[in-house]
Amino acid sequence: MTKRKKKGQGPTPVLVADGLMKAYGEVEALAALDLEVAPGESVVLVGHNGSGKTTFLRLVAGLLDPTEGDIEIDGAPAGSLEARAAASFLPDEPVLYDDLSVREHIDYLGRLHGTEGYGDAEAELVERLGLADRVDDLPARFSRGLRQKTSLALGLARPFDLLLIDEPFVGLDLSGRSALIELLHERHAAGAALLVATHDPSYVERAERCIALRQGEVIFDGAAAAADVLALVS
């Protein structure tokens, strides 16, 4: 069932994982993994709890140090200045400042990424995510869903070539979910590569490529329908 893309095919990849491995003591969270993601490609990561999805995304984001292997983003090593400029990571658990409002968050992080801060485009993004009324509130006082939307706004407001998202739909209401799917589609259409880890089979059909992990190993890599994914993870 395993089908991997061969190296050297197509345009210069936005993400290259070469022999990537992560172990915590005796536990191997991710087996040696070779993977490439092309620019503008939409990839979904599926697998059971503990299959290695989050570990992989964190390794790519530079939040974890690989035990072995290398990662390159836009040709630069993961964690380098260029790689950090190219990859936007949205964790499964929102991590936000207690004393900054939504607007201040976007303004601050936007400036760190070289944008003009909170402008019209950011206001529109916030509006679409249903946060317009709360833009001057502190996320520290938000519900889980609103914090998730704030986190999504932060990840989407900055420029990127590769978007890494871990369980984006957890905690979102229906309107938030629709808005997010639409926003992801737009970013993809604009040329960004997406790497989305999710347990949601319905999202899989929107992606061009599905990578299934089991116990840290890739067990499937290719186009997949929702039914195939259910078979892979059940």
Binding site: A85, G114, P159
Partner: protein
């Protein structure tokens, strides 16, 4: 993607300044004054205490010569400890503890990490330097009274030594962090340096490098230019460390960020157990997947077997730590036997620390009271059955301590004394640890919280000191045996007699573990009755008073006299009864 680091750094600086300004603006002047008041009380108390224990007549030339001969090596141990702590902290992503969002957003943004981390590093350095100057100057001022010389020179040299020590410790931490030094390398280097400095005190090895920095503190009475070299090295290490902070591992920084805040909070609450658990997480000290030895369970004594299985999964780091701590206890006991009575405290503390690991299965029951209370067994019944495993482990700890003490100067008399003192030493250490873990952190709903901070402080000090004190009692028989020998008495008799007293105390602690819940309930019922009588005299209804202290009246509701409960027994299920 285009990267404009200069703009990003400016944005980072501006926002941090704005946030700091906002935080400062939120501090109420009354709170600030109260902090100053508390700092003055505790700081003043500490200075008075130090002044009291260092007071005395000015030393004669022979005394000064002895201080000059031994002082630098002793201060070298302090410097080595600072370096070892710095290396270990740096290898775990320290010494800076950033905010979680800073790791996730700032360090993942295209901002040079060195620039992003320099501000927090310099702030930490500034604070530590300020503390060092204050402490060093105070110690220098205290030294002048016994050693003579210019007060200004003593204060300046004391402050300079403390600043150099902090610079070296923090510099090593920054270097270890920036260069991503593996844990084991950091521990090995720090441990070797500390061992060298410690053995230098006993003049068993050539002078340790850290002892040269110790010379600096004694410049007012003996100027030794050799101390300039370590001073320069400290500055160089600090500069190199600050230059390399950008290389920090985000994985370590992220883990540290999540744990250090909780660790500090737990330490503030004197919640030792939480501190231990969080420290293990910070060090990634995980139980082994495969136990050292596979243990067979035949169905009987489930609590014993659960404890044994937990112990058999100890990671190598924990085993090594317990062995090292046991050896330290043995060395301290040897020192007690040689004449330094104060080392009973070191031996007791070492056994207490080993005890905190030995009682891990029991401690885990206290970590999850909901799970424990779901058992059809009384709490005392469960807890007391965790003690045998801890007792066996502590016997092993005592054996290592005893062997270390004897091997320093092997003799039949030493073996005999070690055999007599083994059980009291080992079990008192475990008893202290059990008390500490079961007492836990002070409850925020405690009536004591209504009392002034000075009274609360005394109580807190008592709660903190009590468990190590019990552990220290275990080392007292050795000191008494030495005193008996000095007075032509029989050291074995006095060690045996005092050892029996210690064992009786240990037995009382075990009884307390078994009856603790009943004692607490009795105490609550006494408080409840007092509350009711107060309510009655103040015209409040008994029902209102009852609502204020619900657990106290369970006995009355059950038709029992207050403070009495039926004997704990296993409750059988319907299936078991049939």
């Amino acid at each position: 993607m285009t990267v404009a680091p200069a703009d990003s750094i400016a944005a980072l600086g501006n926002l941090r300044a704005a946030r700091r300004k906002r935080r400062v603006a939120k501090i109420h002047w009354v709170d600030a004054l109260y902090q100053v008041y508390l700092a003055a009380i505790f700081g003043g108390g500490a200075v008075l205490f130090l002044s009291g224990i260092t007071s005395g007549p000015r030393l004669d030339q022979a005394g000064i010569d002895q201080v000059l001969a031994e002082g630098p090596a002793l201060l070298g141990v302090v410097v080595a400890a600072a370096v070892a702590l710095g290396l270990r902290s740096g290898a775990r992503g320290g010494p800076i503890a950033l905010e979680a969002p800073d790791v996730r957003h700032v360090l993942l943004a295209p901002v040079p990490r060195a620039a992003a981390l320099r501000g927090p590093a310099v702030r930490q350095l500034r604070f530590m330097m300020f503390l060092a100057v204050v402490v060093g100057a105070i110690v220098g001022q205290l030294a002048v009274r016994r050693l003579g010389g210019s007060p200004v020179a003593w204060i300046a040299c004391g402050a300079l030594f403390a600043v150099a020590t902090v610079a070296l410790g923090l510099g090593c931490a920054f270097l270890a962090s920036g260069r991503r030094l593996p844990h084991w390398v950091a521990t090995a280097i720090g441990g070797a340096l500390l061992a060298w400095a410690a053995t230098d005190v006993f003049e068993l090895v050539p002078a340790s490098p850290t002892a040269y920095l110790g010379e600096l503190a004694f410049w007012p009475i003996d100027f030794d230019p050799a101390a300039i070299a370590p001073l320069v090295i400290a500055v160089v290490v600090l500069v190199l460390g600050l230059a390399s902070i950008g290389g920090v591992s985000l994985e370590a920084a992220d883990r540290r960020t999540q744990l250090v805040g909780q660790l500090k909070f737990a330490a503030t609450l004197q919640d030792l157990r939480t501190v231990i658990v969080l420290r293990r997480q910070l060090a990634m000290e995980l139980p082994r997947l495969k136990p050292w030895v596979r243990e067979r369970h035949h169905g009987r004594f489930p609590i014993w077997h659960r404890g044994v299985r937990g112990i058999l999964r100890w990671p190598a780091a924990r085993v090594a730590r317990v062995v090292i701590v046991s050896a330290i206890a043995g060395l301290a006991l040897r020192g007690v036997w040689e004449g330094t009575t104060a080392l009973v405290v070191v031996a007791g503390l070492a056994m207490f620390i080993a005890g905190l690991d030995a009682i891990e299965p029991l401690a885990q029951e206290t970590d999850h009271p909901g799970r424990r209370d779901a058992l059809p067994l009384s709490t005392g019944h469960v807890m007391v059955r965790h003690l045998p495993v801890a007792a066996v482990v502590m016997v092993g700890v005592g054996l290592v301590a005893g062997a270390t003490a004897v091997l320093m100067d092997p003799s039949v008399a030493g073996v005999k004394l070690a055999a007599i003192c083994l059980l009291p030493l080992a079990w008192a250490g475990g008893a202290g640890a059990v008390i500490s873990v079961l007492m836990g952190a002070p409850s925020p709903s405690d009536n004591w919280q209504l009392l002034p901070p000075e009274v609360q402080g005394s109580r807190t000090a008592f709660r903190t000191v009590w468990p190590p004190l019990i552990a220290t009692l275990g080392a007292v028989p050795v000191a008494l045996a030495r005193i008996a020998l000095e007075n032509d008495g029989n050291p074995y008799d006095i060690a045996l007699a005092s050892g029996v007293v210690v064992l009786v105390i240990v037995g009382l602690v075990a009884a307390w573990v078994h009856q603790r819940e009943l004692i607490k309930e009795w105490w609550r019922s006494v408080q409840g009755m007092q509350g009711m009588s107060t309510a009655a005299t103040s015209g409040t209804s008994a029902a209102d008073a009852d609502r204020g202290s619900p657990p106290a009246n369970r006995s009355a509701a059950a038709g029992r006299p207050a403070g009495k409960k039926p004997a704990p027994r296993k409750v059988k299920t319907r299936l078991e009864r049939s």
